[in-house]
């Protein structure tokens, strides 16, 4: 059955300018939105309602993205903006406040992504200054910063963490001892590259360079793990292409791309459903398409959400396997 979807709720955010991002929290009870009007808003959307909980001011330019941290750390939201700042907001005693502000970038911060909760409270930020910063909460209101300068020449547009995988077997660690995770994340930039970064001895190193795009990479999304040894990353670009990258071995050495589709316009965002079986692609052509992989490894478009531009939005079907 192909998913038939209907609108169940329309949230009127009352943003005074273009909305750039909207994200549900972990449980689907709260919605965070951010806009060119420089504000971040939080709504309670339980039971089809919409109650404004917070209108957060602090940015001095359009806010590009918001990201919810894992609930075990409390109610925490990160936002990044054209104003070069990254702000971490926290709900304390029923009110939302700024809990940390990072101003170490020289240019617009385009993307923020929280690491898997197993690693602690860590935020990766990608900026137009080409750098990626990693902000780690160390306790007592303190944050530690690590910066990867020149991660991508001209600029970094997206960051996405790999799911946490404990190396070796899942033996129960004695309490208090943290297992040795291998932390990895992917980034996409204006150098047309997708890069994979790995932490080694407390330092972040470039582990892989994935080349296939012929123009700026706009977004990368590392798929959630369903227990297989394979890793999967989706990337999309100004060149209209969406690639699915897979790596079969656990050491992370050989990545191979598969072209999902070539669109007629810039593709801006890609994101995975929570069990990684559907990929959503947001394009410049006024629509969002949903793609699913059949068991023989081919991708097919299963749904198309668009704005009804007459006959233009012909449903995309079939799958490509070009190189």
């Amino acid at each position: 059955a192909h998913p038939q979807v209907s609108v169940i709720n329309t949230v009127d955010t009352s943003h005074e300018d273009m909305i750039h991002d909207a994200q549900m929290d972990y449980y689907g009870t709260r919605l965070a939105t951010c806009s060119s009007d420089r504000s971040v808003k939080i709504f309670d959307v339980r039971n089809g309602g919409q109650i404004l909980i917070a209108d957060l001011r602090g940015h001095e330019g359009p806010v590009w993205q918001v990201a919810w941290a894992h609930p075990m750390y409390g109610n925490i939201l990160a936002s990044c903006s054209y104003d070069r700042k990254v702000i971490v907001w926290k709900e304390e005693n029923g009110t939302w406040e700024k809990t940390y502000e990072y101003t170490g970038h020289d240019s617009s911060v385009n993307s923020v992504c929280w690491a898997p909760h197993d690693y602690g409270l860590i935020l990766a930020c990608g900026s137009s200054d080409g750098a990626i910063s990693l902000l780690s909460y160390t306790g007592d209101g303190q944050w530690e910063v690590k910066k990867i300068s020149n991660a991508h020449t001209i600029g970094c547009n997206a960051v996405s963490w790999a799911p946490a995988v404990v190396p070796g077997s899942l033996i129960e660690q004695p309490s208090g001892q943290k297992p040795n995770y291998i932390k990895r994340f992917a980034s996409g930039g204006c150098d047309n590259l997708v890069k994979i970064w790995k932490e080694e001895d407390g330092q972040w190193k470039e582990e892989q360079k994935l080349e296939a795009h012929s123009d700026w990479v706009r977004d990368v999304a590392w798929a959630p793990s369903i227990g297989l040894p394979t890793s999967t990353i989706a990337s999309c670009s100004q060149d209209g292409r969406v690639f699915i990258w897979t790596c079969d071995d656990a050491s992370g050495n050989s990545w191979s791309p598969k072209l999902l589709h070539k669109f007629n316009d810039v593709v801006w965002h890609v994101s995975w459903s929570i069990t990684a079986n559907i990929l959503a692609v947001s394009g410049g052509d006024n629509k969002v398409t949903l793609w699913k992989e059949s068991v023989d490894g081919l991708w097919a478009c299963i749904s198309d959400v668009n704005k009804g531009q007459g006959g233009v939005s012909a449903a995309v079907e079939g799958q490509q396997n070009e190189q």
Partner: protein, 591 residues
């Protein structure tokens, strides 16, 4: 290479302005968010128009509540089937599987009856589902052989057709005894050959009657006779009495090929459909599905059902049953037995959008050996833990499956929630369960700080009964031991209490802010009539006091007179105790 032969479903965002730019999209745990945007631009939307975010849900999820009875009851049948796997073999196994199939169908019918009152739109869908399932039961599960096959098909048609088969009624009421005999014999399950012979004989007799003109006087009787002889045209003339082509098919078979073999069905089915529908009508989805069934193309049936029905319930359960019948060969299809798992995963995932049906989803995942566990892990951590009860329920599910990561995660979330609501005891219990020593330390500090301010502890029961969990963190151990000190003092076990107090001071597990409190706790012991602290112990206490005051002098002067006074009192009490202790220890005990 498999081509999807269905156009993707197109959903139009309501009220969105096509000229305004692009669509921003985000996945929620069970819904999706869409809003208008312009990527890469810094602003400039139409002023005055509020930004809307659209929340989408799958239709299937919206209607899930209406079908909850179906989901709940079939769940039990599903579990029973999984668990009964190894016990039976051969004929009894087949009988068992047929019974399971009948059970599923009776659940569908029960739901249909319930919904009938409400004139729900689901009734025709459920009816179609039962129709298809019933046919699959006859052809695949029971695998009815020639002879009984027609009887089953007759029952099938009778059950599902509103208008009674008038042909049969007419025949039954006619006076020709041999016709009665025929039906009588069919029900007696004579051997196929015997039946065929009898039927042939009867058929020839009818033929003779027709040719002799026995019925020439009545066109009506002649018509009946022709029908009985299986004359297609004659039967087709009565088309309006048969509602569907499959009704026509079975009627035809009854009169022309009652001993039809299963493998011959496809030809009769195809021609029946062609004859009945004529050339202008194209088959509907239901027709395609039934045709695939008559052709014994099981995978086609599943595929067509997946496309036609907007819910996964039907294909998931039917495929699972067929898999148990060992009918899904892996070499026939790309994903063979994985088809079963694929469909079950889809169905079960959908259940997680519901506030209580998600529990059914858990057991479906249990029976998906390849990805079930991973899917469960990903879905279960998105269940909102609104109440302690619900959290415990989710925990039990995780614990039973040794999902340690999820257990820890849930406990941490609950601990954080409790802490934010100032429920320290609850927060502590949850951190202990999560084996989260950092959090346990944090909460222990809170307890101790509260004690400094208020002079009493909340949640004493919990702290006093920690047992070995007190070892989770040093701070927690300190808290538990400190409470033990209070208890010992309360029970007037003064020397034990004194020893413990000194140990707490010298072992350095006490937080700095608590030292003064500990030393102050020594005062009542120092001022007892009896000497409790030995000289050794007194020196220890004095050293602690000096460490404390020296440290304070480094940083700042004592804040207030109360502190200064306390220190003075302590010095005096310690000195006095030292004197008494020296005397006591220097005196020989009277023997």
């Amino acid at each position: 290479m498999e081509e999807p032969d269905v156009e993707p479903a197109v959903t139009v965002v309501p009220g969105a302005d096509p000229a305004a730019g692009q669509l921003c999209f985000a996945w929620g745990p069970t819904e999706v968010l869409v809003c208008e945007t312009r990527f890469g631009r810094t602003g400039g939307s139409r002023p005055g128009r509020p930004g809307s975010v659209f929340v989408f849900r799958k239709d299937e999820d919206i209607y899930i509540d209406a079908l909850r009875k179906l989901f709940n009851e079939s769940h039990g049948i599903f579990l029973g089937l999984q668990r009964s796997e190894e016990k039976l073999a051969g004929k009894s196994r087949k009988a068992h599987l047929v019974q399971v199939s009948k059970n599923y169908r009776s659940v569908i019918r029960a739901c249909m009856e319930d919904m009938h009152q409400a004139a729900s739109k689901f009734v025709p869908i459920l009816s179609a589902m039962e129709l298809i399932w019933n046919l699959c039961e006859i052809l695949f599960v029971e695998a009815a052989a020639a002879g009984p096959l027609l009887l089953r098909l007759l029952d099938w048609v009778r059950l599902h057709v509103c208008d009674v088969d008038n042909m049969v009624r007419e025949v039954l009421s006619s006076e020709d005894p041999s016709k009665h005999e025929l039906f009588w014999n069919l029900n007696n399950m004579q051997t196929l050959t015997e039946m065929e012979l009898k039927w042939q004989h009867w058929h020839e007799e009818c033929q003779r009657y027709l040719q002799n003109g026995t019925f020439a006087s009545s066109s009506h009787m002649e018509s009946i006779c022709k029908i009985l002889l299986g004359d297609e045209d004659a039967i087709l003339e009565k088309k309006e009495l048969m509602t569907t082509w499959y009704h026509f098919l079975v009627t035809r078979l009854l009169y022309s090929h009652p001993t039809v073999k299963p493998m011959e069905l496809r030809f009769y089915a195809q021609s029946s459909m062609d004859l009945f529908l004529g050339r202008e009508c194209s088959p509907e989805p239901l027709d395609t599905i039934l045709m695939a069934a008559f052709a014994f193309e099981i995978h086609e049936v599943i595929k067509e059902c997946s496309i036609a029905l907007s819910n996964w319930w039907f294909v998931a359960h039917l495929t699972d049953l067929l898999d148990h019948c060992k009918l899904l060969q892996s070499h026939n299809l790309y994903f063979g037995s994985n088809m079963r798992e694929f469909l079950l995963l889809e169905y079960a995932s959908g259940l997680f959008s519901h506030h209580s049906l998600w529990q059914l989803g858990v057991s479906y995942f249990d029976y998906c050996p390849e990805y079930g566990r991973a899917y469960l892990e990903l879905h279960i951590e998105r269940i909102p833990l609104n109440t302690e009860q619900k959290a415990l329920k989710v925990l039990r599910i995780c614990e039973r499956r040794q999902m340690q990561e999820q257990v820890r995660s849930i406990c941490k979330i609950m601990a954080m929630k409790a802490l934010r609501n100032n429920r320290l005891g609850s927060a502590l219990s949850w951190s202990i369960r999560a084996k989260d020593s950092a959090f346990a330390t944090l909460i222990s500090d809170r307890f101790l700080k509260d004690y400094c301010e208020r002079g009493s502890f909340s949640d004493l029961d919990l702290i006093d009964n920690l047992g070995p969990s007190m070892l989770l963190s040093d701070r927690l151990t300190f808290l538990a031991k400190y409470r033990e000190f209070h208890r010992l003092y309360g029970e007037e076990q003064f020397s034990e209490a004194a020893r413990l107090l000194l140990m707490l001071l010298t072992s350095h597990i006490a937080p700095c802010f608590f030292w003064m409190t500990l030393l102050t706790d020594a005062l009542p012991l120092l001022e007892q009539k009896e000497v409790i602290f030995s000289t050794e112990q007194t020196y220890g206490l004095m050293r602690c006091l000096e460490d404390l005051t020296a440290g304070k002098l480094d940083k700042q002067k004592f804040q207030d007179d109360v502190e200064t006074m306390k220190v003075e009192m302590l010095r005096l009490a310690l000195a006095r105790n030292l004197a008494r202790a020296i005397i006591k220890e220097g005196t020989l005990e009277a023997s």
